[in-house]
Symmetry: D2
């Protein structure tokens, strides 16, 4: 199956132009989603899955043609790829294993259209767990003093090898320089609560405050770390009987589920960024 | 805003034909959703919201043109209407007030794009509640012996006046004759549980079985009453402390919320029937 | 049924003392819940529902006896009352009707063990809706200049007549003086989001940020308005297709449900305050 | 910490007798939950967590004393044990790994107060995954013809070694003879839907029917396989876009979470069986 994702300033006739192009190239649309933020001056978003015999050989020509005939005149951003080719992912972790293992399990089981090409960690703890999946593990220690060097090593390790970085409870803040240089989207998972608790010891503070729901938010990382576009959120119910330690365990359950959904949707081209928000098809 | 809903056998170029038609008529697509059940021989579903200056006067011509130029050749079912005109609804109720009042409240508040033109009940209990909303209330008693006559009176009362019938906890089974004759969709709300309990006293039986979730299902009524296409479902968590009476209250909460969503989505043209299932856009 | 709620510093033998007292007075415990925040120096919380023939006449003596024989020596806070006597409630509202109508309707249906003795509003809009339930409605306008006077009128109106005040989307901030003077608990309902948005226009800001869940929190009001002990929270899922106006409607659904649960649990003696948190039995 | 679980016919003074016994033995109650199915002739359920210095050495005497002084006269069922000693569990699996791996991983993390002493499978597929956790894996193939022999081998393998059997998506039906002979509770996980689908291919049939929620139920296994007392249930939302294969993946997510909660609660003594229902403390 082919996957086409397009966004541009909205205006009349865009869908017609795009679908006419595909029709002429003998592509059959299997699924399409479209959304616009408003009839005039809004932004247009489209995701199309199509069937085209011989896609693998046609892809480069199709992409060039779409760029010249459609995307160029519309000044549109687009991505056109073979949905059967998994995207290449690097997972960043520290000591917590729940998000990392869950993504590796799901990948092995064929649930996620991704290939994990590298795990990077600032601790060595999870090396043997990762080895069991046959995935390269790189231990790059990091301290305040060595952060710039460590990030350079990370960038060197990943250069040209990945389409996505996933922070699977990576307990370091990536610098703005890293985010600019890495050149691919970065997905982060963040605990979140009603009401929200920023800062250290969130589960302890949620316990002190007596919250009845705890949650998690998966979002694209930006320099303003927890303010990037939200991809997915969910919550789980807790009671006063739940200790701060159990809160963290329930939190871990919801973190790994929310992160897995976000990674799956991103890999399937279902997440379109619109400024500070996302369209999820 | 104009609303266009289309379904037909899938094939190449359908979206292109439809959007080209709208483009030529100067309609600007604001929102569109498309789904197909498979690339070959599957079924195609489309919902488009469009902006067209002077829609009210253009509508009849647009509908005729779409039928001749697009829907006819595609052998497609379609609906083309002015989304700003509320659909006309009859509510059927018995003695329970929770679904009926909730729909009347929401309509008054402007949450539902419907106009409630008639309430029909086989009991007189809710007459004054309905009167407070300025909606006609018709008490049509019903017994096994009088069922056919009562249904005839119902049909006469509604003829040509409604686009939708909603069974808001109406405790009578509509005959197949009624469903055929009424000529508009009928939405029903049904308690449902994990595992399911058919038959009488469902909340008592759920209590005996110790279920931890109770739920509700809104669906289109068919002759096989609780087997029509599902529109929406939801559940609420219960514990062993909840009595059968409280189970019924929690059930009522979830019934009214699920039914309200189903009615809203139907009225907005978001529910497309596909055999025994529904596509919800 | 009798209802006994106790809290005190934890220590050995407390449950034994309390249940022995009830046993000697021929009370049969039907349901009990106990919780302690820790074995040493923690705080102990107990709720007991008991059956005692002739409770209405025995109550005063039972209360005195419990105070002298049990609560006094334990330095315990306690409440002992007849659970079949509804608590007296004042509802404060402004222009939004969803929380107010829902509480009035649930009370009429017998779902809430409360008697609504007064509705107070700073607007006249909801007067006739309230009148339909046969509940006194008092319109007390309020401006920055008249706030102190208006609060005095409110206090005068409620003095000695209520056991609980519920802010059913009352869009004024109660002064610390009012909260001190009113002498009964005050329950508030607050929109809440992941991540949280304080301040004006929360649904607009949630829309801008692209949140996937919106929620509501019911809590006891304190001077620091939205920081009082949390009683209940819930969320509902939303998508990018939902407009800010629809977000507010979905928010209203969750607000009324969460508030109704909080009021029911408070009225049933199920909510025990522990500093900034609550124990919910 | 000590754990005491009691159930008996309800009547006056039971809590007093039990807590007085613990008080005299210098046990300090840390947490207690009590529930009764009715004031007269109902059934009484109690769970108490207590602190007692030197519990390990006192336990046998405490148990004997409780049996003679309290449980005997009350004709009560009871369990008194050291909550810090994990219960011994055998996991039964077939080819699906999601429930099995999740329980092994949670056990390793210290989230579940259990020790997995044996994995039994009718297929060899998961042998190396289990080996990575250092848990014995026994492959006992099973066909219609060999079922009785295979069950005998299973029983022999487990005799005296386990306190609980967990069917972690074990795709064989245990015979009534096995259930009688095994002598410990057996927990099963079952997909469940609104409405329910019994029989083969449940996810395919849920897809055909267009359900909007899929779920899972953890319950004690009885001869009538899916009719045993329910421990926990949960659901996840799905849309028409989800294929039958993805439905099964979402189902797997909810199955593993629900099963893990049921195992944790059972191991913590929080699940009390009452005929066909359960009390969850």
């Amino acid at each position: 199956m082919g996957l086409l994702v397009v966004s541009c300033v909205d205006g009349p006739g865009i869908v017609s132009k795009i679908t006419t192009f595909l029709h002429r190239r003998a592509a059959n649309i299997v699924q399409s989603d479209q959304y616009s933020t408003g009839p005039r001056g809004g932004r247009f978003f489209l995701r199309i899955v199509f069937h085209l015999p011989g896609l693998a050989t046609e892809l480069a020509g199709l992409e060039r043609g779409f760029g010249e005939e459609v995307a160029g005149p519309l000044r549109a951003d687009f991505q056109l790829r073979d949905a059967s080719v998994p995207i290449r992912v690097a997972l960043f972790a520290s000591r917590y294993d729940h998000c990392l293992l869950d993504l590796l399990w799901r990948t092995r089981r064929g649930e996620l259209p991704i290939e994990v090409v590298q795990v990077v960690s600032n601790h060595a703890d999870l090396a043997s767990d990762v080895a069991a999946f046959g995935v390269p593990f790189e231990h790059i220690p990091m301290s305040q003093a060595t952060k710039a060097d460590a990030e350079s090593r990370q960038l060197e390790l990943l250069r040209g090898r990945v389409d996505l970085v996933v922070l699977a409870r990576y307990m370091q803040i990536l610098s703005g320089d890293f985010l600019n240089a890495v050149g691919v989207p970065v997905i982060n998972i963040h605990h979140s609560f009603l009401p929200a608790f920023a800062g250290a010891g969130p589960y302890e503070r949620a316990k002190e405050r007596g919250v009845k729901l705890i949650g998690a938010t998966a979002h694209y990382a930006t320099e303003d770390l927890d303010e990037g576009p939200i991809i997915e959120q969910d919550v789980v119910r807790v009671s006063h009987r739940v200790t701060a330690r159990e809160l963290a365990q329930r939190g871990a359950d919801i973190e790994r589920t929310v992160l897995a959904r976000a990674v799956a949707w991103h890999a399937e081209g279902r997440v379109l960024v619109n400024g500070r928000t996302t369209i999820i098809f």
